[in-house]
Amino acid sequence: MSRNLYDLIGLIAGICFILALKGLSSPKSARKGNLIGALGATIATVIVFFYANDGKALNNQTLILAAIGFGVLVGVPAARKVQMTQMPQLVALFNGVGGGAAALVAIVEYLKLGDGATVSVVVATVFTVIVGCVSFSGSIITFLKLQELMTTRPVVFPFGRQIIALTLIGVLISGGWVIASGGTTPLLINGLLSLIFGVLFVLPVGGADVPIVISLLNAFTGLTVAASGYVLQTTLLIIAGTLVGASGTILTKLMAEAMGRSIFGTLFGAFTAKAQQSSGAADTRPVKSGSADDVAILLNYAQRVVIVPGFGLAVAQAQHTVRELADLLSVKGVEVAYGIHPVAGRMPGHMNVLLAEANVPYEQLVEMEEINPTFPQTDVVLVVGANDVVNPAAKTTPGCPIYGMPILDVSLAANVIFLKRSMRPGFAGIENELLYEAKTTLLFGDAKDSLTKVVSALKAL
């Protein structure tokens, strides 16, 4: 296959990727978009077999095909079997291996070129190795955090910032060393330091900020792919990598904005955060806590109930139970809707996926802007493991971490029920005044257990 034909087909694959991202940006075309992306990737993979070795069978072709087969055998079942609540960590893992692959590609090409590599190629190689390794090890840490194989809290260590800064300097110096002198050892050291930097860089990030970091590492991996495209002079890799790099950057920004965080704050927040003021005075105030029966009665006689799911619902994996409750209420003639806050849960849009998986009808999922005007006509709001997204402090307390974030105005409803395990605050670490209001009832316990009890109580009524 001629270089021209190869590039031409590569261009077609690149356009598939553009169309894929375009499709993925709109709910109607999202699935088709993803398929177009898969088509582009397939085209690109197939044609390289006809081009790379001038049309002859590739060197190591059997090994390559076996490796692809093995990758499919690992990747597809993982993607098929993962629970929806574990989606974030799977995406992190896939991203990490991609970054690792890009780094390896650059290394092998570097080994092969030896002293023949031009300076610009070496620079691109070093970039790929650094960013690919950071993406790889960083993603592994995010995976461990999300999978709760390690603490989800920010890991802070003495002189943390200094150590991170020193590692970064080491990465840059060893990178410069590779460019200046060439050779395998410097590249190895550079790669190792980059791996360490990736770990250190993600450790201080708190569990709830992890999705932003995943998105950022995703953008990083995109850029490494673009750089290895330059090393290999493959236009398709440049286009695909840059697309992902650019859209990933914007996406990271959008995500951070949606949850009222700055990207910088997310990454370095743990070291600079002032100790959370645990407004001790509040703790002594009385709250109205109820039993599952109380809650069942309140729900039973309501005309309209809005369910507000949050992070705690994902933790408790209570999506199926919540749906059972909603169905039961619907049968009893109660109007039920779900109020979905854009950043409720562990990832943006996570609630939609969780609830959709539990077969909650799409029409019952109502976005924040649309549900807010309906709260005054709502009898009961059932807040299942959510806190920040209904905290009025976002409107009333200038200076608090979530000030300015749009919230669900559940306090406008006649009654509010909170299902949570304790009086502990949510992710942002601030007291929720709503818990102390007269219209609020608290049902303590794991969301799934509590819901199961409420369902039984309702059936018994």
């Binding site: 190591n60 390559i64 799977l90 896939f94 692959a101 092998v108 090409e109 673009a226 790099g245």
Partner: protein, 108 residues
Amino acid sequence: MVNELMSNEIALLAIFLLSIFVGFEVVSKVSTTLHTPLMSGANAIHGVILVGAIVVADHAKTTLEISLAITAVILATINMVGGFVVTDRMLQMFKGKAKQNKVKGEDK
């Protein structure tokens, strides 16, 4: 003088810059609901590094080179194939009431 050809470096730079704009513009209006599938789909797209991995596996001579390249092929395949499959699974769940009854999740 005009009518010379553009240099390869400049062409790649132009392609790079234009791709940045396309990437920015295409996703800049996406709704929050789709952030997660979009991230996952973009993630799958960079799995196309598989192409690069295949190329270097073809080049590879020494055992070290071959084993690194083959590892790259495996990792890239996982990224690409797994990424598209998981994104599809996620998006499948966004469907309306009509089609929902036939698929019952494999979640516990």
